[in-house]
């Protein structure tokens, strides 16, 4: 569907409103403050949010209905509320086909990633992670003074399992984000299983954390969850989040799956009452509505295909996304691209060294949002470019 630039800007630009990103970018923060409004909140003011890999639709009607019903127990601790924290753990266990004792809850998977670094690394046992990959584990390692071995992704943006296996020797923890954020690529089930077996043999004390935050968005049939591996090995565990396909980033629900003894370590370190009772109710409702997640996956797959085609048509290489975001070789610094988009009301992903000079991460919103964002992005990129190596034989040209 063509979107004329004029109607598009009419729809998304708050014009000269003092809170618009355009105003802030053009006149600076001081002018913003002088205009008599509160501190700038770029996200609140932006028209389209493609910067945080969120589900643009939120959790859906079933979950919101349950959330609202839970209002009556908002004053009770999450163990006393109905439904309770414990019931959420059971619902997750059912969904993943494990026992409740194989599940540990977190305030988002973020909390569990940090606990994993605490539990399994030390000053003499470093963290092995991808470069680039989700930064939370290495941030935690740095906060704890733990060494980090960063293993660059391969030329297709996949985690380099061969190099990571070598780096895993004597390491405390290997962080495997699958699909990998920000490169969006997935590792086949077979490769993950081989990797786990190899590390178990070559460095049996090394733990492996497989972060499946984007699990529900994968469409590649070669992928499979590592939950069975986690149940098999005491040093292997999987984290998941309801912040992505479940649309609950604002509600803070994540979980880990592994052997009972492994999960007990996480339980000990978790924040007391790390689930709020509204999220508990919404999450249980959502887990009981798999058709909703199917629909969200289909919606994302369509918008992802549209956006991938859009960038390819402009002549830009896009890595094979199995998530709700794209990693695009824009051939220019991510910071520059991000700022130019933000000035026009579109927020895109942050910098991901070491690929920040040439790649940008763009989250997938609704088709409508992607069409509108496309107009801005095309303008920022200056239209099509000479096809880079990856798209040299691509016959599709910009329309």
């Amino acid at each position: 569907m063509p979107v004329s630039r004029r109607s598009f800007l009419g729809a998304i630009s708050p014009g000269t409103a003092a809170h618009s990103p355009a105003f802030v970018a053009a006149r600076g923060r001081e002018a913003f403050t002088a205009a008599g409004v509160a501190a700038p909140r770029p996200r609140a003011a932006a028209a389209i949010l493609l910067d945080s890999n969120e589900n643009p639709l939120g959790p859906g009607a079933t979950a919101m209905e349950a959330l609202t019903r839970a209002f009556v127990d908002a004053g009770r601790y999450p163990t006393n509320a109905r439904p309770s924290m414990g019931e959420l753990r059971e619902a997750i266990a059912r969904r993943v086909s494990v026992k409740p004792e194989n599940v540990s809850m977190g305030a988002g998977s973020w909390e569990l990633l940090r606990i994993a670094v605490r539990l399994y690394t030390s000053s003499s046992r470093p963290l092995v992670t991808g470069a680039p990959t989700f930064e939370q584990p290495e941030k935690m390692a740095e906060q704890l003074g733990v060494g980090v071995r960063r293993v660059p992704v391969d030329k297709d943006g996949r985690l380099d399992l061969e190099a990571m296996a070598q780096a895993a020797r004597w390491a405390g923890l290997v962080y495997l984000c699958n699909p990998n954020n920000p490169t969006s690529t997935v590792l086949p089930a077979r490769a993950v299983a081989d990797f786990v077996a190899r590390v178990a043999q070559e460095s049996p004390d090394t733990a492996i954390l497989i972060d499946e935050a984007y699990h529900d968005y994968v469409t590649d049939p070669g992928y499979a969850t590592a939950v069975p591996l986690a149940l098999e090995h005491p040093n292997v565990f999987v984290t998941r989040t309801l912040s992505k396909a479940y649309g609950m980033a604002g509600m803070r629900v994540g979980y880990a799956v592994g052997q009972k003894h492994t999960m007990e370590g996480f339980n000990r370190w978790g924040i007391t009452f790390n689930q709020n009772s509204l999220a508990v109710a919404a999450a249980i409702a959502s887990l009981g509505d798999p058709a909703h997640i199917e629909a969200e996956r289909a919606r994302n797959t369509e918008a992802r295909a549209f956006t991938t085609r859009f960038f390819k048509d402009l002549g830009y290489r896009v890595l094979d996304s199995q998530a709700n975001f794209l990693f695009v070789e824009t051939g220019r610094p991510a910071k520059e691209f991000k700022e130019a988009c933000a000035r026009r009301g579109i927020l895109v992903g942050r910098e991901f060294p070491p690929l920040h000079q040439t790649y940008a991460r763009v989250s997938i919103g609704t088709i409508d949002e992607m069409q509108k964002a496309g107009v801005v992005i095309a303008e920022v990129l200056g239209g099509s470019r000479t096809a880079p190596a990856g798209a040299a034989n691509d016959s599709r040209r910009p329309k």
Partner: protein, 382 residues
């Protein structure tokens, strides 16, 4: 109550003005006794919760903020900034004086994490809120547990003496589970003394029950904390604000302290909690009503135990600590049999004392009947 999707959209969605009446009715129905298939639950007098919750106005602000659900799918980091502004405004401080967490539990843990170590112990009451000592055990920080005095108050002299070389001195005021308060003057003098004995020690004051205090000698240390790099005050929305299920707490401190306490960032905060807390802060009248309600029910409960021959401490909180002259466990088990939950054991006083949270006056009257039967008190005495 059956709640169809259609009704939900009308209730929770951004319906037109014509839907307003329907919406109001459906909204009110949310707060009526739940008519679900679940069995009635016991009286929950074991976790020091506000039995009324945050109230409809606060929850209505959450409903409005979440709309049809889209905002629940967004990371709420910018909303955290708004919450910090609201908290700062309440204390006449700046947002640089504020850090928030997933309940005050997260804030307390981070404080222990940040300011103690295997060679910088935690000083705490022997019988006080356990979060700090529990976390100290986890991270290998030694705990100096200081006995309470005869009035079951934190022993400030002994705690100050123990502060030398400590990383954190934890003061829960009023103190959970003993319900007792230390006066503003006593806490002021204590802080000065700790500063002179242990200039590097952080005085961590947990004022979770602040809004329930009626003793006029009480003073918050929040204003001091904002200026003093060695004092930090923790607060929670779980008690008088009635938001235990929504997980928001915060600390007030010097900007340098707050920077260090921001160790985990805002990642554990949820959008509903943030919105509710921000709205709740702006309704001081509700807090005063809640305090008055609690004070009345608390007085009833203390008087009831007193007439039955059991002394309570001078409670300045939403719970009472009662000398029932028998083990808490037997009492607790017998009460549970009759549909009333009271708190866990609190060693070393678990053989004689029990903690009972204050529910509504009506709930306390019902609970008193059960207590009377369990304790063998004649109705006339009560």
């Amino acid at each position: 109550m059956s709640f169809t999707r259609r009704a939900f959209v009308k209730t929770v969605g951004i319906g037109g003005a014509s839907l307003l009446a329907t919406r109001r009715e459906a909204w009110a129905a949310l707060f009526q006794a739940p008519g679900s298939a679940r069995p009635p639950r016991p009286l929950l007098l074991h976790n020091n919760e506000n039995p009324l919750g945050p109230g409809e106005a606060v929850l209505d602000s959450v409903r409005r903020a979440l709309g049809q659900g889209g905002p629940a799918g967004r990371y709420p980091w910018e909303d955290v900034a708004q919450l910090h502004e609201a908290i700062a405004e309440k204390f006449g401080a700046s947002p640089e004086n504020v850090v928030s967490g997933c309940g005050s539990t997260q804030v307390l843990r981070v404080a222990v994490q940040t300011f103690t170590s295997p060679v910088k112990p935690l000083v705490a009451g022997q019988l006080t809120y356990e979060e700090c000592a529990g976390y100290a055990d986890l991270i290998g920080t030694p705990v100096r547990a200081i006995k309470l005095d005869r009035a079951l108050k934190l022993d400030l002299d002994a705690m100050a003496d123990a502060a030398k070389g400590a990383g954190v001195v934890f003061l829960n005021n009023p103190n959970n589970p003993t319900a007792t308060l230390l006066s503003g003057d006593a806490v002021d003098a204590f802080i000065e003394r700790v500063h002179s004995i242990a200039p590097d020690a952080m005085v961590l004051i947990d004022e979770a029950y602040h809004d329930y205090v009626t003793d006029p000698s009480h003073r918050t240390q929040a204003a001091r904390a904002a200026k003093d790099p060695r004092v930090v005050v923790a607060r929670t929305f779980s008690k008088a604000h009635g938001m235990a299920g929504m997980r928001v707490g915060y600390a007030i401190g010097h900007p340098e302290t707050i920077k260090r306490l921001n160790w985990e960032g805002p990642n554990a905060l949820n959008v509903a909690g943030i919105v509710a807390a921000t709205a709740s802060l702006k309704d001081q009248a509700r807090l005063q009503r809640e305090s008055a309600r609690n004070t009345e029910a608390r007085k009833f409960t203390i008087d009831w135990f007193s007439k039955a021959g059991f002394a309570s401490t001078d409670s300045q909180t939403n719970f009472v600590f009662v000398d029932i002259k028998r083990p808490a466990k037997a009492f607790r088990d017998a009460c549970r049999e009759q549909g009333v939950l009271v708190a866990r054991d609190f060693p070393p006083l678990e053989k004689s004392h029990v903690r009972v949270s204050i529910g509504t006056l009506e709930e306390m009257k019902r609970a008193a009947e059960v207590f009377g039967r369990v304790l063998g008190v004649k109705a006339a005495a009560a």
